[in-house]
């Protein structure tokens, strides 16, 4: 599916930052993926093992940090998880909400030598 093109972007980002840091090798990456970003870790890992070969990133460890989806009530600021059944605020039953977390999808850092 689209994990290949996404993994290619991750590789491009990490190689570019490694070059800018004058690194010889990328040892690891920290990737933040929100629950709503619809990306599967295992698929990224699968493609990574294929496309990182013969690059500075070959053998680099992928570390995934998953961020759960949280709604935030705009009336009382309570944050709560999305459980798929009830979306109104559990604290004040307010119905004005925003998605506070869960859409993240970025490379936060790389480990190099």
């Amino acid at each position: 599916m689209h994990e290949l093109s996404v993994t290619e972007s991750i590789l491009e980002i990490s190689l570019r930052h490694a070059r800018e840091a004058n690194a010889q090798r990328i040892l690891g990456l920290h990737i933040v993926i929100g629950q709503l970003a619809s990306i599967v870790d295992d698929s990224v890992q699968f493609y990574w093992d294929l496309i990182a070969k013969d690059t500075l990133a070959e053998g680099a460890q992928l570390n995934f940090e998953r961020i759960p989806a949280q709604l935030e009530c705009l009336d009382c600021s309570t944050r709560y998880g999305l459980d798929g059944r009830e979306m109104a605020c559990p604290n004040c039953q307010g119905t004005k909400v925003r998605i506070a977390t869960g859409k993240e999808f970025y490379v936060s850092s790389i480990e190099v030598e």
């Binding site: 689209h2 709503l36 979306m87 909400v97 998605i99 850092s109």
Partner: protein, 217 residues
């Protein structure tokens, strides 16, 4: 061993291309829409109805994204629009680079309205910006009333919602209040249309909205 902070969005290259697409469409004063929905909700039917409702006063083009066949692009062409098929090669959504290639095949100065029909999928398309001015989700009655709760990213990420197949309301257990409450929580004030492409009920309001959007350009 040292840690190098990166903090770079992985889809930033897609977002950048989407912005280029958007500016290109705006420069040619083309009003563009990204139609997203489950397979079978009625994207192509709504496109057909929109084309026949707006021709000949407006010039329409359709870019259709599918993993196989030219069925939908053929329907749009038969209805009277300039039509381009993009076969995504197995990708489950269109992305900005595919839209860019499709735009290269159109003379944008000859178009007033561009409808991009995305791949039938309620999950991925909303995460991949194309650069259209607005995005529309087409929901349909037989899909059930719990979809906003199950696909919050999609419902939250669109500018307009069409609820199609309202002619089937007497035959399926769809709670309109429950459905619309989910939508209202995620996307307060979302422009919403209830219609039936098959019977024509409710289509006038949709066509008026499209015409108003074009005229605002």
């Amino acid at each position: 061993m040292r840690k190098v902070p990166v903090v770079e969005k992985i889809l930033s290259s897609n977002d950048g291309l989407a912005m280029e697409n958007r500016l290109r469409l705006e420069d040619s004063r083309v009003f563009s829409l990204n139609f997203m929905a489950s397979p079978g909700a009625g994207k192509t039917s709504l496109i057909e109805r929109t084309i026949s409702g707006l021709l000949p006063h407006f010039r329409l083009a359709v870019i259709d994204g599918d993993i196989a066949s030219t069925l939908d692009a053929d329907r749009a062409a038969a209805a009277g629009a300039k039509s381009i098929q993009v076969n995504t090669g197995g990708e489950c959504h269109l992305d900005a680079i595919m839209l860019k290639s499709a735009l290269d095949q159109l003379d944008l100065d000859e178009i007033d309205i561009l409808i991009v029909e995305n791949v039938g999928n309620l999950v991925c398309p909303v995460n991949f910006a194309l650069g259209t001015q607005q995005s529309v989700l087409i929901a349909s009655i037989p899909e059930g009333d719990d979809k906003p709760y199950k696909y919050p990213g999609m419902y939250q990420g669109v500018n307009a919602l069409v609820i199609n197949k309202i002619d089937l309301l007497p035959y399926v257990p769809f709670r309109m209040h429950y459905f619309r409450q989910g939508v209202e929580i995620l996307n307060p004030g979302l422009v919403t249309f209830q219609l039936s492409c098959r019977t024509g009920e409710g289509l006038d309001e949709w066509l008026e909205w499209v015409k108003n959007q074009v005229q605002k350009n």
